[in-house]
Symmetry: C2
Subunit: 260 residues, 2 copies
């Protein structure tokens, strides 16, 4: 269960993202999973400014990432962007990079990230994502105390594995919030009354009646034995309301048959 305070201490850093739409998509994924601190490391301001303009201009922003984009900040170096972070985790594809460092799966890395977010006194954790084209460079990864990868389908002949940037951010934040988000709405459950044995029995008798009046019983006696029919009605509706609906249907058939 990730608290609002812990979520506020997670920083998503996009390093060298060039496509404004991808910056916007990352911001939207952050908003979806309750995160707010987005930092862009880029030598030039154009993609960041374009993403902010795009977000402000399109109606998407109403449901989208408006507040994340408004608070986002640009840095010219990764050192500056992560200066206040106690844990820096880098995301990387497993390619033919000769990293000489262990890479954890996202699932393996998550306890360490969540542990840092919730245990230290004033921790801030950065999760780094590289550019769409090249990912994080070796130099970028040298800033990271933890490397992680999203396990992808990788046949032996696939050399260049990489995910769409917005999708990577969404999957990482999904995993980090997978055990629950504090202060979020519960998914409403219906708690509807289940069908009772009495409902089942009434359905059984009604179905037997229907089989009888429609001449099914005479034509297929082997299928019309009461235990078989009782077993059949186990599948009719799981809730009391559904069972009542089925009863209505069967009664209507009986009524039609008896009227003739």
């Amino acid at each position: 269960m990730l608290s609002a305070a812990a979520r506020a201490r997670l920083t998503v850093v996009l390093v060298g993202a060039r496509n404004p739409s991808n910056i916007g998509a990352a911001a939207r994924a952050m908003q979806d999973f309750g995160f707010s601190d987005l930092r862009i490391v880029n030598d030039y301001a154009a993609p960041f400014e374009a993403a902010q303009l795009e977000d402000a201009a399109t109606p998407k922003s109403a449901v989208g990432a408006a507040s994340v984009m408004q608070r986002a900040r640009r840095f010219s170096s990764l050192t500056d962007a992560t200066a206040d972070c106690s844990l820096v985790a880098g995301t990387t594809a497993i390619g033919d990079r000769d990293l000489q460092r262990d890479i954890l799966t996202l699932q393996q890395a998550t306890p360490q990230i969540l542990g840092s977010l919730t245990s230290d006194p004033q921790p801030r954790v950065a999760v780094l994502f590289g550019s769409e084209k090249t990912g994080l460079s070796k130099e970028h990864l040298s800033h990271c105390s933890l490397l992680l990868t999203i396990p992808l389908f990788a046949p032996e002949d696939a050399r260049h594995l990489s995910m769409n940037l917005g999708q990577s951010v969404a999957v990482c934040l999904y995993e980090l919030t997978r055990e629950g988000l504090e202060g979020s709405r519960e998914i409403p459950t219906l708690h509807e009354a289940a069908a009772t044995a009495d409902d089942r029995e009434r359905l059984t008798q009604l179905l037997l009646d229907v089989m009888h009046v429609t001449d099914y019983t005479r034509r297929f006696p082997a299928n019309a034995a009461e235990p078989l029919v009782r077993q059949l009605t186990q599948q009719l509706g799981t809730t009391h309301r559904e069972a009542m609906t089925w009863m209505g249907i069967l009664r209507q058939i009986l009524w039609r048959e008896r009227k003739q």
Copy 2:
């Protein structure tokens, strides 16, 4: 561990997707996680054809979703698109929709989907995603035997929650493959030799020497006690290679100091 055969039996159905880029993004997510059967339900062919053209025309397709898009099929009705599926799961946002049906979280729904994919004799499972604008309608959801939602951050005042289509598909397929993909490459682990107690002891002695020759020991004797220094050197490198690097650094300092 999801086998290649089981993955081949999972169908992603996009219902009413209007934006060709979103169809392409869904296809790319499928390729990333090892799925191949994409079906588009749309009254008109334009978005589907545009997505195929876009995929064929851009260099993205080289690393992207070329084979998924090539095999994708369009249907004019949801009934046709899911005719051969034994389990139909619908994704939905928890909005103010009055569904009268239970909705599972993605995590809760996954065992049932994986169970269907792996246990029946020739099962096919469809996972449905609605359009970017409206999601799946009540009519669409009535085709589903299972409803699921990706838990999002939802403060009480947020009424319209929905994720980007490509991101939704990516997160769902990530969860379905989270316990592993058969036939995929393992993430290489280094299995590098860990630093030994002997390495640690040599580092401790070297660090004590450095403290001595640099006059640190005289100025801060409380910090220079051997047990404290030994504890400090626990932090110097986790592998033998890193420990050796640290020794080299310390020896260099000693050499410089002694030369003076």
